[in-house]
């Protein structure tokens, strides 16, 4: 049995598999399948200062080996999260990560202040949501805006701070560097790629929001490439995600440079994906005489 534990920005994870924000809510529904400790950590549903209703349906469309979503950050607001979900999640023996979104820089800062006074383990700054009109990705697509929001939130955030990056940019490595230079403790990538599908019988977009965020196995090669580019550019931990479905994908994205991984869409295909990935990782490490999963990170020969 190899050691699957990892340390990200001073936080101990029992394994490198983290549930990706927006795919697992606050954890309760998946705890029906297994104890949530099968995950090293859980990144909670993107949360905003006030309740958000989300986008009108349909919000989902399938794509070849993937899907689009435009949920639009439906959530009950940060106070509700702290009161109703966080105490329960903290008892599940997994790292609790709050995913924070906002319309203005002040929103993000206020959220970071509020959450800093709770026992949340980490904060993931969502500056890459493609499905809301204000906020979200507008903060995440230039080095200047990423530097500015990271600097502002860093100043009021007492928790380890992860910046979640958008792939819908020209140079993700320089954006990661901008986040690092302003005090990010880690980066996570990739959020979804903006996509669109049309019903050819009605000529209307399948998703009411017209565009949606694409995820699933189809985006995996893009994620591997971007993790590789970012790992070469920064010295802070890199959390890799985007279409990770099997233990082989987990090995591959870690070789590209990920210190930990997030899985999301894979949960919809197979709720037991995290269990299978952990088993497969363990066997791969044993078969290759490795003691720790950290030995995989960045070992691609390229």
């Amino acid at each position: 049995m190899a050691d699957l534990s990892v340390n990200i920005a001073g936080v101990h994870f029992n394994n490198p598999i983290i549930a990706a924000s927006g795919t697992i809510g606050f954890g309760r529904e998946y705890s029906e399948f297994y104890p949530l400790s099968v995950f090293g950590g859980i990144s909670c549903k993107g949360t905003t200062l006030k309740e958000r209703p989300g986008n009108p349906p349909p919000r989902i469309a399938e794509t070849p080996m993937g899907m689009l979503n435009a949920v639009g950050l439906q959530n009950p607001g940060v106070e509700h999260f702290i009161r109703e979900d966080l105490p329960w999640l903290k008892q599940q023996n997994t790292v609790a990560i709050a995913n924070v979104a906002g319309s203005t820089q002040d929103d993000y800062c206020r959220m970071a202040e509020i959450l800093s006074e709770t026992d949340i383990d980490m904060i993931e700054l969502n500056i890459s949501c493609p499905n809301v009109k204000e906020g979200g990705v507008q903060f995440g697509t230039s080095c200047e805006s990423v530097a500015a929001i990271t600097r502002a939130v860093r100043a009021c955030c007492k928790k380890p701070l992860i910046i979640k990056l958008s792939p819908n940019v020209t140079d993700i490595a320089s954006i990661a560097k901008a986040a690092e230079s302003e005090g990010a403790d880690a980066v996570s990538l990739i959020n979804t790629l903006t996509g669109m599908r049309i019903d050819i019988n009605t000529r209307r977009p399948i998703i009411t929001n017209v565009t949606g965020g694409m995820s699933g196995p189809a985006v995996f090669p893009v994620a591997v490439r971007m993790v590789w580019q970012v790992k070469k550019a920064v010295n802070i931990p890199v959390i890799g995600m985007g279409g990770v479905t099997t233990w082989k994908d987990a090995v591959e994205i870690m070789m590209a440079g990920a210190d930990a991984i997030q899985i999301g869409t894979a949960l919809f295909t197979d709720p037991y994906a995290p269990v299978r990935i952990a088993e497969g990782l363990n066997k791969y490490l044993d078969d290759h005489g490795m003691q720790s999963v950290t030995e995989l990170t960045g070992t691609v020969i390229a």
């Binding site: 927006g22 795919t23 697992i24 809510g25 529904e29 998946y30 029906e32 399948f33 549903k45 209703p53 989300g54 986008n55 009108p56 349906p57 349909p58 919000r59 989902i60 469309a61 399938e62 794509t63 080996m65 993937g66 899907m67 979503n69 949920v71 439906q74 399948i206 699933g216 196995p217 869409t265 949960l267 919809f268 295909t269 197979d270 709720p271 037991y272």
Partner: protein
């Protein structure tokens, strides 16, 4: 355990029409948990998303699903052979709330007919079933409903079988003595039924559909607009808050 993802052996396959299939899936644990109006999320090899399919019936350790081939996923599923395993998450969602002693009208339109079978069985002789189809060739499950329900009425849009017209025509005659209405089918049909139920003061439950991802209430994909007590609307989710909703709650 409320639900789980498990393999089920496909023990029987029937083709009911050129596009509709009848599968019997054996899994004692999941069958024992399944209630009328609930659904299952079916894994289709090679597809990212599972297919939500309503439960047609439960027969001992067998969950019966009847589905229509609508796209690649259901096409692939229809090729599964007897003896092979199918992985499902089941049972899911909130089903119909039924009182066997009340005269209940069960209304199904097209592929909305299957979930009414297990539901109508709960009310036995108190069940009046109205099933609507495009035409005679699209008609399914009439024999099953005939054995189960107190009364079975079939309508077809083109008059090739039963009453010529929509399900709302016979409903007009039956609704006077009804204590509950349960319906599943196309949205315009449900909307009309909900209106008639309101006019006659009969409680009405409707089973809704929406494009779905997780199936268990985590991803918030399958939103449906519902009215809140304060008059505003909010989004609930077909997979967890439904698929069965009180018709008065739905913001049509």
């Amino acid at each position: 355990m409320k639900y789980d993802a498990q393999d089920c052996r496909l023990v029987d396959v029937k083709q009911l029409t050129p596009t509709i299939y009848d599968f019997r899936l054996q899994n004692a644990d999941l069958a024992a948990l399944t209630r009328p109006g609930q659904f299952v999320q079916v894994y289709v090899p090679g597809k990212t998303l599972r297919r939500p399919i309503s439960v047609c019936d439960v027969e001992g350790d067998v969950i019966r699903i009847v589905f229509e081939v609508r796209g690649e996923g259901t096409e692939l599923l229809s090729h599964t052979r007897t003896g092979e395993n199918i992985n499902i998450i089941a049972p899911l969602g909130k089903g119909f709330e039924l009182d066997p002693h009340k005269k209940t009208i069960f209304i199904g339109g097209g592929i909305g007919v299957p979930p009414m079978l297990y539901s109508a069985r709960q009310c036995g002789k108190n069940a009046v079933v109205i099933n609507g189809f495009r035409n005679r060739n699209a008609m399914i499950l009439s024999e099953d409903f005939g054995k189960t329900a107190g009364k079975l009425i079939v309508t077809t849009d083109d008059g090739s079988f039963g009453i010529h017209g929509f399900v709302t025509q016979p409903l007009e005659e039956e609704i006077g003595s009804a204590e509950m209405i349960c319906a599943c089918g196309p949205t315009p049909m449900l909307k009309n039924i909900a209106r008639m139920a309101r006019e006659h003061g009969v409680p009405c439950q409707v089973s809704l559909e929406q494009r779905m991802a997780c199936g268990i209430g985590a991803c918030l994909g399958c939103a449906v607009a519902v009215k809140r007590d304060d008059g505003t609307t909010c989004y609930q989710h077909v997979c967890k808050d439904g698929p069965v909703f009180n018709a008065e709650e739905v913001a049509w």
